[in-house]
Amino acid sequence: MKLLRTFILPRIVQYLIVIFVGITLTFLIPRLSPINPVDNALGRLTAFQTMSPEATVALRESLMDLYGLNGNLLQQYFSFWKRVVAFDLGPSFTVFPTPVTKLIGSSIGWTIGLLSLSIVIAWILGLILGTLAGFFPNSWWARTMENSLIVVYPIPYYIVAFVLLMLLTYYLPIFPLVGGSKGAPGFTWSYLSSLVYYGFLPALSLIIGGVAFRFIISKALTSTERSSDYVRFAEMAALPKHKILFSYLIRNTLLPQVTDLGLSLGLIFEGALITEAVYGYPGIGSLLLSAINSADYNVIMGITLLSIFGIATASLLVDLSYPLIDPRVRYS
């Protein structure tokens, strides 16, 4: 009960505040943009046909109304909240009149599939390799791995992705240049294998960076814990090495690692941007990029809102799981 009052409730209140602030900022920032989407849309409509000035003004009025840009900032803000609560994000400006929710719905599967799989694979691989390398710091395989991953880790993600793309699609054309799959969707072998085939290179680029990062973090954490007293006592008591490693040491290094996994899962939407832009992968990142280039408010807003919910919820769940993982938090 005390845990609920002192830890869980404040955390949930904080979660709500975070979402409120995030949504407000998302509302404000695109409205500072000098590009007026209504004039953009008008320009597209009038490019192919001449319209009388009256008709143009009337069209402009109805477009303003449709896009929720009527009234002063405060009125817009309230109607914005109304729509957020009703889960209605309006139509897309560029692919008019497809609703934003539908656009996002059709591309989010790609992103979540690609990103969550590669993040989890990279997390597990990096954690295991890093912990082992930290526990046996003087073995040759730990050194080789560390030396090679240390060089890979700091390289900007874009460079990794671009070099892989250059090598494996241009010089050695093994993998496809753009796209997410081939053939009609369905549970057929050819479709599923094309999913893997098209997703392999993007996933590889994500995993390379992810493993290097996780490896370095978990090796550092492990070698710190390894010099702790309890490990030394356990070694003096001649406990088997695997028991020290799995029953004691990993539990102590896991707390920050789980935090990071939760947060990086929340960052899916952000991470997708470069990957999908480089590999032409049909996901939410490509959608966001084209929306930003054409000042498509509603789509930008929809995706940003989604990622705010995603990241905030992930971070809430991570924090709520602290007491389960670390008894020191539970009893403090």
């Binding site: 505040i17 975070v18 000098p34 240390i150 700091p154 070698s223 930003i292 705010i308």
Partner: protein, 286 residues
């Protein structure tokens, strides 16, 4: 100075990193002696492959890739340095306050920090950069990156300090009547400093990576030479399809060398500064 020499002698990663950073510094200084102004085109024959005269070849605009690269390295480091200074300044300050003071301070600051963490940075950055498209300067980019990169470090400092506060030795120090300031400066700082140094390097890596990313989308200061804009213009003029890979290889190679150099130096420093790993190494070797 003695420390640096010692590090140079005993830490292989520091040695390699320092040599790389020295080369980067030489590149940076060379930019002041460039025979051509950075933006001037058609000063050398076009599309020359690397040769003795043009060390890294020339591009389709008649620019010498090597001299362009010296400017690119200088400008990229300027952007990153500014971003790190601003970002870490805010991050460390807030992290320390919220970690040590706790209570209401911690809750308020954490709420602010958390709401900044959940706001996706890259879309925001791209949005802002798109808004000021064409008017972005190097300085502006550095400040912008710095203002976006403090929330996550600050949360990490906070959790680091919270975990230090839970440790046994802190309790022992408190019970034995050690003053708070002394606990912080003597017991906790040795844990925080390696963390800070590693964090500064990760700030550099973030800023350099972001600069490259923004430039790829054509949203950085496209009129200046940076590592990112060199890649952008290389792609723009189809360097790959016209078989002039050196135009792209130079900035890609430079970016890898710069970040790896920074990172290796920080690895060397961290192992040196962290007393516990130093002890561990002594035991292993002695």
């Amino acid at each position: 100075m003695k420390t640096v020499l010692g590090l140079f002698r005993y830490s292989p990663s520091f040695r390699l990193g320092a040599i790389i950073l020295f080369l980067v510094l030489v590149l940076l200084i060379l930019s002041f002696f460039s025979p051509y102004p950075p933006d001037k085109r058609r000063v050398v024959p076009r599309n020359e492959p690397p040769s003795l005269e043009y060390v890294m070849g020339t591009n389709s605009q008649g620019q010498d890739v090597f001299w362009m690269l010296t400017f690119a390295v200088r400008n990229s480091l300027l952007v990153a340095g500014l971003a790190v200074l601003i970002g870490r300044g805010i991050g460390v300050f807030l992290g320390l306050i919220s970690g040590y003071l706790g209570g209401t301070w911690d809750r308020v600051l954490s709420a602010i920090v958390d709401s900044f963490i959940v706001i996706p940075r890259l879309p925001l950055l791209i949005l802002i950069a798109a808004m000021v498209r064409g008017q972005m300067t190097i300085i502006g980019l550095g400040i912008l990156l710095g203002l976006l990169d403090w929330a996550f470090p600050s949360k990490r400092y906070r959790s680091q300090i919270l975990s230090l506060k839970e440790r046994d030795f802190t309790q022992t120090a408190i019970f034995s009547g050690m003053r708070t300031f002394k606990i912080v400066s003597q017991e906790h700082l040795p844990f925080i400093i390696p963390f800070l140094l590693a964090d500064i390097v990760s700030g550099f890596l973030f800023a350099i990576g972001m600069e490259v990313t923004l430039a790829i989308f054509g949203l950085a200061d496209m009129n200046s030479q940076t590592i990112g804009t060199m890649i952008y213009w290389g792609n723009y003029y189809q360097a790959l399809l016209t078989n002039k890979v050196w135009v792209l290889a130079a900035p890609i190679g430079a970016s890898i060398i710069v970040v790896v150099g920074f990172y290796l130096v920080s690895v060397g420093l961290t192992t040196y500064l962290d007393p516990r790993t130093r002890l561990a190494r002594l035991q292993v070797k002695g």
